[in-house]
Amino acid sequence: MRRYLAYLWREFRGEILVLPGRTILFSATAILLILPLLYPHPYLLRILALTFIFAIFAASWDLLSGFVGQLNLGHAIFFGVAAYASAILNLRLGLPIIITIPVGAVAAVVAGLVVGIPCLRLKGQYLSLATLAFPVILMGLVFMFTEFTGGELGVSGLTRLAPTRLHEYYISAFVGVLSILAIWKITDSKLGLVLHAIREDEVAARASGINTSQYKLIAFCLSGLFAGIAGGLYAHFMRIAGPQSLSMLTSFQAIIWTIFGGIATIYGAVVGVFVLFPMLEVLRVAPEIRLLLYAAIIVLVLRFMPEGLAPWVVDRLERECPRCKEHNAFTRRECRVCGTPLRVPLQKTPVSGEHMSGGEGLSASQEGG
């Protein structure tokens, strides 16, 4: 037992404490999971639970639009489809949460296929415009079948996510952490590599033998799945699925959070939500100029940190080893993996790439193979 604990501590020190970024992320998660036990204020819990739900939503947008480059301006469709599906199943058929949220997520996957298949042939702005249309179409349907969807008022009176606020918070937090880890793992896998390649150059990916249509559809479905989980949680947390979940604002919020936090990183999207969503509440101290301040902060941050908040911070706290590309804490003098000195003035131009393997220098490796 003691040896196991010692092993865990070593792993923890070696994997998490070595990098400031990971340390911050780990401690923030730990605080978010422990704090509510010490200070279970219902308002705080409500805001934090919603933050976790929206973090899944923003991360799912980042998966599709940041990683695969399929700029989706109508991401709310996945959120809304799942919210309505969960709500209708729960209210009309009386199914419990454990069924309605997964079924809602599956409905969002189907929505991913419905959006994804026509979008396979589109690129760039055309794709974005097409995705923008889908939530609008669905919104039209919602207002057409009012006896089923409740029209303007939505479907309300759903079962609560859990009997108490604290339970609700922990359900959102655990589902949130697990979903975000899953998305992160996906982007770090072979699938993630292919998705990166499709964003960088789709024609070259095809010429490498990658069925890009298939992978783009997979990305649409995965993104839909996680956005759907968020939508189902949201519906049950707010106990209502209304047309505002399909609104353009919902789609654009995900985009604002992700770009603010750092696009194509996943952790950036999560950081963006955790900074911006509670900030909107904090800014209630100045109710008249609340949104103005909010917008000003976003503009200023993006002016001075064009890559987004999280990558900017990581850039300051960590340094990439020029040789093995491992990240190191900014305090270290040499790389923790290969021992290369890190304090050498960084060259702005990629000189190493130009000269290291001009022509003659390569002959050895050429003959060798």
Binding site: L193, V194, E200, A205, S208, G209, I210, G353, Q366
Partner: protein, 270 residues
């Protein structure tokens, strides 16, 4: 999509049929006929050079074979199978790989990841291979192309010559039977060109390079650097205005009067 090895060996036995057979291939861009009813064939492990003045339609032919452009007329048969209308990735997975004249790396990915992408294609992927093994294979492809010491650099840091090598590493990683190189020597200095010519001959001979192996690839090579090209090819096709105007061994073609007039006469001998 993976083609079993036995089947490849079996197809090799019927020596009569060529590996690639192009008949009556036509492609129009608006009023311009870029490729005008071109027919040629490439035999097993034959190296064919495709030359011609700028705008003759060489690169268009490559893009038609690779499935990036769709032909208006004609057929492209690879080992007896019609490639026309097939998706580009299916063509690659049948065993035709090509490089782009203008290199198209995945710019923000490290070099090794650039080569791991084709290693993830169904053709290159053996059952149950995980990331580590694919990385080893990608490293072999880099080793072959001679850029393994740059494996971790992002692709946007590479020089032009290195990008050309990266293109070749990426094409070789799928272990093709037919390799199409579009201006591989373009923009390379003499020593780089010598190395590349050596690599091409080695690919043609076949054999094992770490985890990669080839049974002697057939190749179509397009280039303007005739001094290099004519030394490595078995046969040359000369194109002008979308048509093949001459075909033969390098020695024959250089002496052909049509060729001298259409191509060498204007560009090389002036």
């Amino acid at each position: 999509m993976t083609v079993p090895r036995q089947q490849q060996a079996g197809a090799g036995a019927e020596t009569g049929s060529p590996l690639l057979e192009v008949t009556g291939l036509t492609k129009r861009f608006g009023g311009l006929v870029a490729v005008n009813s071109v027919s040629f064939s490439v035999g097993r492990s034959e190296v064919v050079g495709l030359i011609g003045p700028n705008g003759a339609g060489k690169s268009t032919i490559v893009k038609l074979i690779m499935g990036i452009l769709r032909p208006d007329k004609g057929s492209i048969r690879f080992r007896g199978r019609e490639l026309r209308g097939m998706a580009p990735w299916n063509i690659v997975n049948l065993g035709v790989a090509g490089t782009f004249q203008n290199t198209r790396p995945f710019r923000r990915l490290p070099i090794i990841a650039n080569v791991m992408v084709p290693c993830l294609a169904p053709r290159a992927r053996r059952r149950g291979e995980w990331v580590k093994r694919i990385e080893v294979k990608a490293r072999d492809a880099l080793e072959f192309a001679g850029i393994s010491d740059l494996a971790l650099e992002p692709a946007y840091q590479l020089s032009h010559g290195e990008l050309k090598r990266l293109e070749i590493a990426r094409a070789v990683a799928t272990e093709p039977q037919l390799l199409i190189l579009d201006e591989p020597f373009g923009g390379l200095n003499p020593s780089e060109s010598d190395l590349l010519a050596k690599s091409i001959r080695r690919l043609h001979r076949g054999g094992r390079f770490g985890r990669l192996h080839s049974e002697g690839m057939a190749m179509i090579i397009i280039d303007h650097k005739l001094s290099y090209l004519l030394r490595i090819v078995d046969r040359v096709l000369v194109m002008n205005f979308g048509q093949i105007i001459a075909s033969g061994t390098p020695d024959e073609v250089v002496l052909d009067s049509d060729v001298i007039e259409a191509y060498l006469g204007k560009e090389e001998m002036a």
